[in-house]
């Protein structure tokens, strides 16, 4: 038997509504909380990112520790053209880039898992009726979902990159990594930002096309993996290297190589890959905007 309590009366609300509430943040927090509710997927998806970060940080630390850097060589003197610290810093930068690129693929997995249901589940349950019966604009809804998914990207790509870079900075003698390889830091931030934004827009756009998370997952992996494979096969068969521009991973590889000044594939064209990435991101956003509009105005 349930006791009737004194609280079961209707109380008028005496507060006031905020003039400019941060509705996208509220929506993003809710999306993150829901995403992290299931512990096993979260554990499985975050573990590789954590391992990558740890291995990367330890490797970078060891590269400094076991190298023969003469005392007082924090500033690169370039004596007789031989500079051990310069070589080490270069190796460290290369390793940072490798680990960041590796983390990016784990981030893709995590963002796909957490993002696939973000809009598909809303569509399946009709939760858009609850959201859009509030003073929430479609822009606010879209921003909320994007911020929520980008948070998972930040956890799986941004934080591992930050850990590895921090190790490189703090382990280097006399802040030499910061003074001589600072461009690696902002380039990593730029690469991670573009990766997270592009993947978020694609995942959410595909999630907004279907009503089930499993379908959205299939669609995302199908689009990225199948398209990448098909583009590669077609490029080889037809000997048209431009067909590889349909592959998201290929374009990111080219972009990363160009950004970090690594040796480019001779067939690759960084400008074309950048344009292709922009098309992926903007196409995803356009599709997302169109579908969210249909969710706000339901018929």
């Amino acid at each position: 038997m349930k006791a009737t309590t004194h609280t079961e009366v209707y109380r008028p609300f005496s507060g006031e509504l905020l003039e400019h509430p941060l509705r996208p943040i509220t929506l993003a927090r809710s999306a993150v909380r829901l995403g992290l509710r299931k512990k096993l997927p979260a554990f499985l998806l975050f573990t590789p990112a954590v391992i990558t970060a740890l291995v990367g940080a330890i490797r970078v630390y060891l590269m400094y520790s076991f190298s023969d850097i003469p005392q007082g060589q924090g500033g690169i003197s370039g004596i007789q053209g031989i500079n051990p610290l310069q070589d080490i810093l270069g190796n460290v930068a290369t390793n940072v880039v490798i680990f960041v690129k590796t983390s990016a693929y784990f981030a893709l997995l995590a963002m796909t898992w957490f993002g696939a249901g973000m809009i598909a589940d809303d569509r399946r349950m009709g939760a858009n009726l609850l959201y859009f019966s509030r003073p929430l604009t479609r822009g606010g809804y879209l921003m909320g979902k994007l911020i929520g998914l980008m948070f998972f990207g930040l956890l799986t790509l941004g934080i591992p990159s930050f850990v590895i870079l921090s190790t490189a900075v703090f382990s280097s003698p006399d802040w030499s990594f910061l003074r001589h390889e600072a461009d690696v830091i902002w380039k990593t931030a730029l690469f991670a930002s573009i990766w997270i934004l592009t993947v978020s827009s694609i995942v959410l756009a595909l999630s907004s096309l279907v009503n089930r998370k499993t379908l959205a997952l299939t669609l995302v992996f199908g689009t990225i993996i199948v398209l990448a494979g098909a583009a590669d096969v077609a490029a080889n068969l037809l000997e048209v290297s431009e067909l590889r521009l349909l592959s998201l991973p290929y374009n990111f590889e080219v972009f990363a190589d160009w950004l970090f000044g690594q040796d480019l594939n001779p067939e690759a064209n960084s400008t074309h890959s950048l344009i292709a990435l922009a098309c992926f991101a903007l196409g995803g956003m356009a599709l997302l905007w169109r579908n969210v509009r249909k969710m706000e105005v339901v018929g």
Partner: protein
């Protein structure tokens, strides 16, 4: 929010409102004025009730005409956002996100309306208590019964203390106990807390129990709109009688006095006097003359069901009594 400066005599008004889904005309030239208080929006399935609610919230775009609610036009962006601040909407479908708890869902929707985090959380607990979900508030909504889900949807509609509630089939799928609980809440909100409620349903007793006014929709148009009291008031010339002895003789004698026997079920009769305003004494005289025993006599009232059925009978629609 609770002390709004807006207090118009007409809360909702539509003029020539139309909505078509392809070739299907859901609403056709609908012009209604919804007064403050509890108003029942009745109609058979497919009459356009849910479409009207969505048009009022700006969730649908009309193909013709216009509507205003709380003085705002839902076709404009500013109007939509203002309306959604002042209106609480309880959708018909099961639209609750499965992995959320009651507290999370209601407080999140409160914050989306513009409440501060602390206010939203306090208010969430208050409305969940009010909707008798206090013990279930931390359970995932997947574990909720249908009745609990319906009450949770009411709680989320109430969280920002709106002046108008649009309730779409709130008793849908509920057992008698759950239905009674829901109707008690709706009636309490309307009668004791001054909420203006547009109750959309096809269940006549729900409206009869909670609403002061009723609007009957059919095939996208208005069939009837009046106060429940006016629609169900006693007819001056019709009476229900109970004649436990001599009913046959009594009924045979009625035509001689010009009284029309409308219906008879064993010893219960429904009769109409020849002239409106005529005294019922004639019935006692007939009973005396025919040797019948008249046990009870009361003015006959039309039930809302009678009114509703007669309003839509011409179209031959099926309704749920």
């Amino acid at each position: 929010m609770s002390e709004s400066s807006y207090d118009p005599p007409i809360l909702i008004e539509t003029s020539g409102l139309g909505k078509a889904y392809g070739k299907v005309q859901a609403l056709n030239d609908l012009s209604i004025k919804v007064p403050p208080g509890a108003v029942g929006l009745l109609g058979p399935n497919g009459a356009g009730k849910t479409t009207l609610l969505k048009l009022l919230l700006g969730l649908l775009i009309p193909t013709a005409g216009k509507a205003t609610i709380v003085g705002q036009d839902p076709r404009t962006r500013r109007g939509r956002l203002t309306i959604r601040e002042h209106v609480g909407y309880m959708p018909e479908g099961d639209c609750l996100l499965p992995e959320t708890t009651g507290v999370e869902l209601v407080s999140m929707l409160g914050r989306l309306t513009g409440m501060k985090a602390e206010d939203a959380m306090t208010r969430t607990h208050e409305v969940l208590d009010y909707c008798q979900l206090e013990e279930a508030r931390y359970r995932p909504v997947t574990e909720f019964s249908t009745g609990m889900k319906q009450r949770l949807k009411l709680a989320q509609a109430l969280v920002h203390d709106p002046q108008i509630l649009l309730l779409d089939e709130p008793t849908n799928g509920l057992d008698p106990k759950g239905r009674r609980q829901m109707l008690e809440l709706v009636a309490d909100l309307a009668q004791n807390h001054g909420k203006n409620i547009l109750l959309c349903t096809h269940l006549l007793p729900d409206v009869e129990r909670t609403c002061e006014h009723v609007i009957v929709l059919q095939n996208g148009g208005v069939k009837l709109a009046d106060s429940v009291a006016a629609l169900t008031q006693a007819d001056g010339d019709r009476y229900r009688l109970s004649v436990p002895r001599g009913a046959d003789a009594f009924c045979e004698a009625l035509p001689n006095a010009g009284v029309i026997l409308e219906s008879r079920e064993q010893d219960r009769c429904l009769v109409r006097l020849p002239d409106e305003g005529q005294s019922a004494d004639v019935l006692f005289q007939i009973a005396h003359q025919s040797g019948a025993c008249l046990e009870s006599l009361e003015p006959a009232k039309s039930s809302l069901e009678d009114v509703f059925l007669s309003a839509i009978q011409a179209e031959g629609e099926e309704v749920s009594p």
